[in-house]
Symmetry: C4
Subunit: 370 residues, 4 copies
Amino acid sequence: MNERPSVIPALHHIPPGIQCAQDYEALADRFIPAPAHAYIAGGSGQEATLRANLAAFDGIGIAPRLLRDVTAGHTRVKLLGRELRHPVLLAPVAFQTLAHPGGEIETARAADATDSCLVASTLSSFPLEDIARATRGDKWFQLYFQPRRESTLDLVRRAEAAGFGALVVTVDASVQSPSLRARRAGFRMPDDVRPANLQHHVQPGQVTLSGGQSLIFQGLMSEAPTWDDLAWIMGQTALPVLVKGVLHADDAHALQAMGVAGLVVSNHGGRTLDGIPASLKALPRIREAVGAGYPLLLDSGIRGGSDIFKALALGADAVMIGRLQVYALAVAGALGVAHLVKLLREELELCMALAGCPTPADITPAFIER
Amino acid sequence: MNERPSVIPALHHIPPGIQCAQDYEALADRFIPAPAHAYIAGGSGQEATLRANLAAFDGIGIAPRLLRDVTAGHTRVKLLGRELRHPVLLAPVAFQTLAHPGGEIETARAADATDSCLVASTLSSFPLEDIARATRGDKWFQLYFQPRRESTLDLVRRAEAAGFGALVVTVDASVQSPSLRARRAGFRMPDDVRPANLQHHVQPGQVTLSGGQSLIFQGLMSEAPTWDDLAWIMGQTALPVLVKGVLHADDAHALQAMGVAGLVVSNHGGRTLDGIPASLKALPRIREAVGAGYPLLLDSGIRGGSDIFKALALGADAVMIGRLQVYALAVAGALGVAHLVKLLREELELCMALAGCPTPADITPAFIER
Amino acid sequence: MNERPSVIPALHHIPPGIQCAQDYEALADRFIPAPAHAYIAGGSGQEATLRANLAAFDGIGIAPRLLRDVTAGHTRVKLLGRELRHPVLLAPVAFQTLAHPGGEIETARAADATDSCLVASTLSSFPLEDIARATRGDKWFQLYFQPRRESTLDLVRRAEAAGFGALVVTVDASVQSPSLRARRAGFRMPDDVRPANLQHHVQPGQVTLSGGQSLIFQGLMSEAPTWDDLAWIMGQTALPVLVKGVLHADDAHALQAMGVAGLVVSNHGGRTLDGIPASLKALPRIREAVGAGYPLLLDSGIRGGSDIFKALALGADAVMIGRLQVYALAVAGALGVAHLVKLLREELELCMALAGCPTPADITPAFIER
Amino acid sequence: MNERPSVIPALHHIPPGIQCAQDYEALADRFIPAPAHAYIAGGSGQEATLRANLAAFDGIGIAPRLLRDVTAGHTRVKLLGRELRHPVLLAPVAFQTLAHPGGEIETARAADATDSCLVASTLSSFPLEDIARATRGDKWFQLYFQPRRESTLDLVRRAEAAGFGALVVTVDASVQSPSLRARRAGFRMPDDVRPANLQHHVQPGQVTLSGGQSLIFQGLMSEAPTWDDLAWIMGQTALPVLVKGVLHADDAHALQAMGVAGLVVSNHGGRTLDGIPASLKALPRIREAVGAGYPLLLDSGIRGGSDIFKALALGADAVMIGRLQVYALAVAGALGVAHLVKLLREELELCMALAGCPTPADITPAFIER
């Protein structure tokens, strides 16, 4: 199953059936081999969190207001001192060549074309420098801590040099393995899909466990970052550091207190611990914990423009798009991702217009139906 | 797909399978071409609001009382100083020739035959004057603001001249496009279905957008009415002006305060912004906001007589029937619509009788099961 | 469809597949013609109340207690000064020859064999005198008010003479017609199924309605009983009078205050007004309204012994079994009904034993899981 | 149906499709004859409690914390003064030769290999002495009261002599019979499956019931244990006595007060009275009733490591695994059960690591998502 079965190669045009952003999801399984599709689409465990992410949006209504003048409307948001044209960020999805041979380079070109802030993954299929060159717009670098601090620091220095404007440290995925769905579909990472950023780093040797020690606690988790690691990396760079994977208000408050520049409320798209809450559900209490004005992004579960509206209403400054991005990439490469962003933005604008909100700043909890 | 496929022409009798008002819904797809049926039946987005409209009625119970004398019972209601025989109004559905070649004329004849108050749409397939002539009963004119105020005013003047007794200004549908369902079914408005009332009006030129401007905010919404526009039109006519599309108590209160004659609580049958609340859910807090005695109508989601009972119990003075009207029109023209009204009225009367409410005024929140 | 299609005649033995009381429901459609089965099984309208009756039991849990001595356990209950062997009453189901040629006579024999209190319907297929002769046990007569008081009084006098020990006046079904389900299945009452008790009574002439009068209010409801009618009949008989069809606490209180001997909390098995609450849901507040010690029965929705336990825990002194009775009658006549009662009683006893309740009096709200 | 149909014999290796503990459930029906599988898998009545056990876990979320150091993590728990390597106990499932010819001996070997505390059933297919010899680890003996006290005492003496460290008295299954599902599948206990521990005991004669006596109350329940019986057995042994089958806080409190050493919160896997609450739902109020530090185990519904995490968070010190144990036994004998325990332990460890809990003592209600 390691060989990719024959599937449709990515198109060079937008297929006629795409009527809304979510349509890329329905189409994607014809463009991605089944095992890889299972790897991308699946969530951990019984996928309760995966389902909860979607259900959380469905469970929240919008309370529109009438007759408001929105002709001066726009979607601009300020984040980390920068003005973004719109609040749709491209999430740091790993190994994008699973979906398209052009991988992250195509994605970056779409970001460039749509003025989208790109977040490049540590585990990208192409070197971060190549990705950085492919977009003139805002770009952040997502950082996974490496087994050795020198490796971690090397990644940071390269990101700084390549012009990334912020670091996004992911802290909720210390142990990663393909989901049950992916394993049942026979997924194995293809031999030619490798973490390009890490190829010159010495990989850590196997942990040697003594009798009675746990593969989890004394093995895999021995490389997981702690509060000390986070403080260390913040001391090594002048870049703003955001933390991704936050769901608990107390953690959010502690991170803010130690100088973290912003948070990404996320459950990793339901790909880490099954049973944890939907990101959207965690968002309001995190906004309450950090107060107004502190940068918060929402990741996991966005499937359309009204989802973005709901996230903004419940406290997010912007959102990250993960799976939809990969699906659009698989269908039509850079063109697909750019089209996806355009659709999401139009859907958001239509939602804002019909709800009576000319700008993102107008989208407050008052527009959520209780 | 623009040509209509072969479907059953409207009957000249009531088909034997019709046992209740809702049965017209089940039958209609044999009388309407599939794309047009999708256009009529569909709701916006993922149709969450469309489903919510129905679920809201199902989620509410009736608390009946025993042994009451209802032999003096009736369904008469007072609205805008007029006494209506029953609280079932025919909603202003656009382009009724999509369902039946006789379109709004047939509907008006049914209104005439059943003493139903008819609400004619700006976007009718026949001129408002022809529609007005087809019914001797109460009739109101639904007004969409036009790109130019002179066009809007011309419509009002014609409605006044034709004998319409009130204006119903729709304010929740500034941007309209066929639903995803309709687009996926290949719906395009047939060439011979045109807004008869607007054929002599100059259509606005294309909006020219400069770089960075939004098709939504600076484009389509530039023609959307605002509070000022509403105040202006109220100053131009002696007709009572109702506003249709209200869901928020604060908007309801503001509209009442500016002299609007009554409100139609409506989410446009789930056809505008997906994710907004069911009309029925919004109704009680709007009644609370405007107080007793102020005219309120409920639109969206009525499928039978007990739904009308529930709407009246939660604060409505009357209801509007949209999709069912079109379905009955497609099945049997004026005869079908008249039969539909008869069924709805009988179902309402039976519900009132069994619940112990002889008149609409007796239907209070006390008859709702908590 | 008025002729009965070929179906399996009732057996003279218990079929092997019957493992629990509810199994009679699954089997019955092979023993009853489809239209008649639809008539028996169906509920009014969209059958929301029919479904709610069952869901109400499913939604309530049992809180068992441990290690209690139940060896002196029994199922005896006191009702109207009589001791019944068990709290399972056979509900007054009309026209039982629809299910079995022996109809109510078979049912009465089963009551006799199982010490069950039988409630004979006004609309029985056999004369009440014949039914009374078929059981030596407790029996009550269910009374529908007739168009003329002399007819009603005649029924009461015959019930008194035949030895019925109480009257159960049904007040929630003033307008009755086959359900949508029954009409869609083509049900018409077979010509040979007639109300035996009423054959010598003059049927009322057609009501003549003047213009604008309602078939419901001025027509059908002109024969519905009112508070005055109930008071009148109570003055005509020394028999205790119970009222069936009560769902509202205020009605319950008023009925108790006027001297009614007991109430049957019932929504007529979901066969009258669709949308009214489940009987079980109404039960606790009615018990609260009438206080301890006042006779209350629960009808509608019982499908097994644990349902009886739940009803008793929530305030009922006994329950009535409707549809299951008819299903068992169809499958195996008197034998089937007797077996059904035996199963229900065993299921109840097992539930009591495992919950730690030796007698019905021990089954209090404390045994309901919150 | 008493003959076992041809099914796959237990494997001597772990089948490749097993990715998580619950996968043994999906595989088991190929290794167990259909009637026996129905007997094992089924629950009593309509299986509401069976479903509730699973739904209770699904309905509870986990609230993870970030960046915590778990490298000193472990799964050790203290119970009855002993330290167990992990909180996964093998529940006392009866008649394990239904699933595998090696039955309880295989299970005991798996307990031995995985340092799991084994709970042997009174109704084991092999003598308790043989089971005890098959594992060097902790073992408890589950006791059903026998019709005669001398038989019960004999079991206790044998358990003491065989080295069992505690008695687990089951009190919630005084009446046992195959479920509806099992009966419908034609299950009868095979002739060669017998309670090995009881073969030398005189079985009680049939209870003779006099007229009007109940098979349940005066028959089957005459042998059910009461509070006095429990006090008696506690006076006969120096072994700690736990009670299994507790769901009510008042019972828990009373048992603690009389000196019971610990409780197993259990509804017998949904196999006794249908309609009683999920074990997990009952757990928090029982912990509240007995206070901190008192031994509590949770039984019924565990299907994976995160379920164990949730049980510990809500007050359990350890859990018992019933059906999954039998399924793994059927698939691969001792090897399967050992693998199951390994999977459950790894899943628990992964859940603890990702939630930020290094030890069981760290798993508090604060980690439950509200």
